[in-house]
């Protein structure tokens, strides 16, 4: 592992070709022979080592802050190495709710963070829950595609705990536990879904920082896409449709070279939760990110947690194994294997730079991401509603034989010959965030995303018994939004958003949905 990182460190050019080579080398070395290594990064690195800035607490000074807002991993780190440094307390300053016990260098800290949020949502179709997620717009020839829907929800409210404990030797242990109220509820009533939501984990990880390698064990954002460094600013719940957005349990190793210098180089690799546990093989990721520490911009990942963060560009990759039950009537006798993969290039570019967290007036930031891969629908908030076809039933058996899938839908499928294929996806995203003068309390943000599968239409036949899948499966999805956010107080943010989504079904149907959204967030 160390050897791998050293190798990566020595590289001085990071164009796409080199990056690809690095990722490939990373896979080979990290996974021990080319099996499933995964780049990933904790997100904290930057601020941690450098003490700089970025991740700091959204608001004020305190070190504690919320991981979520910024790169998940950062929270913990900050505490230790007080990042903030942001000069004089700004209007946005908000002290962290931190409980500290013990004295001096034996101090243990617990920081409570999160927000209470309420969303008022109106859609022109009956396609989505409160979160759009990977759902697709209802067809134009259906009632749902011609009827609207209103939803009031507080399920995006969030509560987190960040822990810090004393440094032992050169090891600095921290941990984060964070959740929201999007917990899965089985076939529940509408009343229960909105009024009695359940708490579920978003982040839960232990981090051990050392001068050599940082270890992250537990669940956080995946390394693939260096995700939390270039998130869009929007009122819609992340991930946006077609956005690389995923959290998984993982074991991650990373190091930020030249953390305090002008150019930092972040290298990371991780083994992540297998996309399919029955494949037996963890997903593997690796990534390389360049950080320009003197070129900072203001960013709001999602709808809260506005901070200053250095410009960065990252490349990352993922490989994953599928071992799918054979497409035959039960009992299962054997399986088919396939390998999924993905590459992502992600950028955070401060067009009008900022000096620190509080320097928000007339600041403009650009975020962008390009992803290409196969069998990665679960990672890009897409999937086209792809399903497994039904088994043929030539004997007219009753009940008809049902395929026993041993993996989540939308990743792979079977063709008419029963051969397993992974589903390809190409997605990109571009967004801007403008913090209006004179105070920066008013924020305008807009985003565009798109995802397209170039083999979906070939996998779902235009004739035969499976033709109806053409009317339920989508190979192209687009999303556009425009958002206005206003900080009424340092803790209270109000927002309005308009969102347009459009999908293209395999049979040519092309419905769209318009969402209007009002939002109120109390951050703590």
């Amino acid at each position: 592992m160390m050897h791998t990182m050293s190798t990566m460190k020595d590289r001085s050019k990071f164009d796409a070709t080199v990056a690809l080579a690095l990722i490939a080398a990373g896979f080979v070395l990290l996974v021990g022979g080319g099996r499933f290594a995964r780049a990933d990064e904790p997100a904290a690195a930057v601020s941690a080592d450098s003490g700089a800035p970025t991740e700091v607490a959204p608001v004020t000074a305190p070190p504690s802050p919320p991981p979520p807002l910024v790169p998940a991993t950062q929270a913990p780190m900050e505490s230790v190495a007080p990042i903030v440094a942001s000069a004089a307390p700004s209007w946005f300053a908000r002290p962290a709710l931190t409980l500290a016990v013990g004295e001096g260098n034996k101090k243990f800290k617990l920081t409570l963070y999160g927000f209470a949020e309420v969303d008022y949502i109106f859609d022109t179709t009956q396609s989505y829950g409160d979160s759009m997620g990977p759902s697709i717009v209802a067809r134009t020839d259906t009632h749902a595609g011609n009827s609207s829907r209103s939803q009031f929800s507080m399920r995006n409210s969030r509560l987190g705990f960040a822990f810090e404990s004393p440094v032992m030797g050169s090891v600095r242990p921290t941990a984060v536990l964070e959740g929201d109220f999007f917990g899965y509820q089985r076939a529940t009533s509408e009343g229960t879904f909105f009024n009695s939501p359940t708490y579920r984990v978003r982040h839960a990880y232990v981090r051990l920082q050392t001068p050599y390698i940082d270890f992250l064990m537990g669940q956080s954002y995946d390394l693939f896409g260096w995700q939390n460094y270039s998130y869009p600013c929007t009122l819609e719940f992340l991930g946006l449709p077609n956005q690389l957005f995923s959290r998984n349990p993982q074991l991650r190793l990373s190091h930020l070279f030249n953390a305090g210098g002008v150019l930092g180089v972040d290298v990371a690799a991780s083994a992540g939760r297998p996309v399919q546990r029955d494949s037996q093989v963890p997903d593997g990721s690796a990534g390389l990110r360049l950080v320009l520490n003197n070129w900072k911009g203001i960013t709001t990942p999602g709808n809260v947690g506005t901070v200053a963060q250095p410009a960065s560009i990252g490349v990352s990759g993922i490989v994953r194994e599928f071992r799918v039950n054979a497409f035959a009537p039960p009992p299962v006798r054997n399986s088919n294997s396939a390998t999924g993969w993905g590459m992502s290039v992600d950028a955070f570019l401060p067009v009008i730079p900022a000096a620190h967290d509080g320097d928000r007036s007339n600041r403009l930031t650009f975020t962008a991401s390009f992803v290409k891969g196969a069998g990665i629908a679960d990672l890009i908030t897409s999937g086209g509603n792809a399903k497994f076809p039904t088994l043929p039933n030539p004997a007219q058996a009753t009940p008809a034989p049902a395929y026993e899938a041993n993996l989540d839908p939308g990743l792979v499928t079977f063709d008419a010959n029963g051969i397993v294929h992974i589903i390809n996806w190409t997605a990109f995203r571009a967004g801007l965030q403008y913090y209006l003068p004179p105070t920066g309390r008013l924020i305008f943000a807009a985003n565009f995303t798109q995802a397209h599968s170039d083999n979906m239409s070939k996998l779902y036949l235009a004739g035969g018994s499976r033709i109806e899948l053409l009317s339920t499966t989508v190979d192209t999805s687009r999303y556009v939004d425009a958002n206005l956010l206003w900080d009424a107080t340092p803790a209270l943010r109000l927002g309005l958003s308009g969102q347009y989504t459009e999908v293209e079904y395999l049979d040519g149907n092309k419905p769209h949905n318009i969402r209007m959204m009002g939002q109120s967030v109390y951050q703590f």
């Binding site: 016990v101 242990p173 941990a175 917990g183 089985r186 579920r200 984990v201 037996q280 963890p282 071992r323």
Partner: protein, 482 residues
């Protein structure tokens, strides 16, 4: 069922000891073991708070108010990341009561890898000012194993849902401590004897009303009596489960123990005996609609011991310390309490008229506790289980820990309840009457809050038709304790 006659006598004896109550349940608040829940007012402050040793870790506690009017809130729990590899596709992240896949199936021939953080735990402990002689406290604690089983793999592992483990109020006073809410059952004095939920191990939490008292709490020998009324195993029985227990602790003979993988504590040599009785009133084994029901009684007796082989003086005295844990449980209709039901399920109703759809039995009791024989008579399923385990804290610091456990459960009547022929003969291929489990684990405290470990676990099942598959699990884990 034969044991059912002895059980009442044993239970009756226990009840007499406890004061003649009905459905009394011995239980104990978890005090010694369970760091927080137990402690409140009644339990002495954990040694960790002393700040004396390398292991010292102050509580994350918030106090408001002054002196005797102070209110306290403590945060406790841990973050845990687990990495599992199984040689078969038999288990989720938690083994639970699942059986090993049969040797003649594909899932037995292929493995599975799982990354999980669902064991992560968060708890809040509350202390309120003493009023008169009553010290009120409360605990709410949960983990993230709350997902329904029908979610996707991604949701199951990456968006696990919070669920309650403990939620109770305790009123401690000089005469009788009262515990109301959910915590470990008295049956098995579980919180004292390593409640970690291993296969074939007594492990259960239920909502209950418990009365208990410790005699000579600070002397050389402490005796505790407890009785409780517990959530009925079957609500339609109309009768709460009843438990009672007697515990004896020798306070001058302390040992070190780690309940599950949590906080390490010092605990005196302790022996316990406890029992449980429960009522079943199952819908009659006939086609719907339900017209009547059949009743039967379940019972259980447990003997448990914590034996410090190489004693310790306090919780920080961990170098070269050895402790032994043993448990023996016998009972009927207690499969839910011992993490072993054998996969027992209700047979399908006979369908001589070849009705379509065929009539379905409408069960009003959980699977694995009772079943019907070929004549439609209701029987409780018998189980005998035992566990033996040790924990050795290596010299010199005690930061390295080696532990191993062996458990076994066997049902003496399940083979007789499922016929060897006829339409239901198929049940014999997925019901087991014997389960064995063995593990070995090595853990290391990297810092006072970070613990890493590796483990190997072996499980073997004997199905009623003789098939005997096994699973080998290799796992690694990381914990951040707070």
């Amino acid at each position: 069922m034969s044991g059912a006659r002895k059980a009442p006598a044993l239970i009756a004896a226990a009840l007499v000891l406890v004061g003649g109550g009905r459905f009394a349940q011995g239980d104990e608040p978890t005090a010694p073991t369970v760091s927080l829940p137990v402690s409140s007012p009644a339990v002495p402050a954990p040694a960790e708070e002393t700040g004396a040793a390398w292991f010292a870790r102050p509580r994350l506690a918030l106090t408001v108010g002054e002196g005797p009017a102070a209110y306290k809130l403590r945060f406790f729990g841990f973050l845990e990341a687990d990495y599992y590899f199984d040689s078969t596709r038999s288990y989720d992240d938690s083994m639970g009561t699942a059986l090993v896949a049969r040797t003649d199936t594909y899932p037995n021939q292929v493995g599975r890898t799982q990354f999980s953080l669902r064991s992560t735990r968060l708890g809040l402990g509350f202390d309120a000012p003493v009023a008169g002689s009553v010290a009120p406290s409360a605990v709410i604690e949960g983990d993230f194993a709350g997902d329904p089983p029908d979610s996707t793999e991604k949701v199951y592992f990456a968006s696990p849902v919070f669920r309650v483990r403990h939620a109770y109020i305790k009123l401690a006073n000089p005469y009788v401590d009262v515990l109301m809410g959910q915590t470990f059952d008295v049956f098995g004095w579980q919180s004292y004897f390593d409640p970690s939920g291993l296969r074939n191990q007594l492990f259960s939490r239920n909502t209950q009303l418990r009365l208990s008292h410790e005699f000579n709490a600070t002397g050389r020998v402490t005796v505790e009596l407890a009785a409780s009324a517990v959530r009925p195993v079957q609500r339609d029985s109309g009768v709460p489960d009843g438990s009672a227990g007697l515990r004896v602790s020798f306070n001058d003979w302390q040992g070190i123990r780690t309940p599950g993988n949590e906080r390490i504590v010092a605990m005196p040599l302790t022996l316990g005996v406890s029992g449980i009785v429960r009522q079943f009133r199952a819908n009659a084994y006939t086609p719907p609609p339900i017209q009547n029901s059949n009743s039967v009684m379940g019972w259980g007796v447990s003997l448990d011991g914590f034996l410090p082989i190489i004693p310790a003086s306090n919780f920080t005295d961990r170098g070269n310390r050895l402790a032994l844990m043993v448990s023996y449980v016998k009972g009927s209709g207690i499969g839910d309490l011992i993490s072993m039901t054998g996969g027992a399920q209700f047979p399908t109703l006979s369908n001589p008229a070849l009705a379509y759809p065929p009539p379905l039995y409408e069960a009003n009791v959980d699977n694995g506790l009772v079943t019907f024989d070929t004549k439609g008579l209701l029987h409780t399923i018998d189980w005998t289980a035992f566990r033996i385990g040790f924990q050795y804290y290596l010299p010199y610091t005690g930061r390295w820990i080696v532990s191993a456990n062996y458990t076994q459960a066997h049902s003496g009547n399940i083979a007789m309840l499922y016929p060897r022929e006829g339409a239901e003969v198929d049940l014999r291929t997925h019901i087991a009457d014997t389960a064995r489990y063995a593990d070995a684990k090595l853990t290391f405290d990297v810092t006072p809050v970070v613990r890493v470990g590796v483990a190997g676990q072996y499980t073997k099942i004997l199905y009623l038709d003789g098939d005997g598959p096994h699973n080998v699990r290799v796992s690694a884990s990381t914990l951040y304790l707070f």
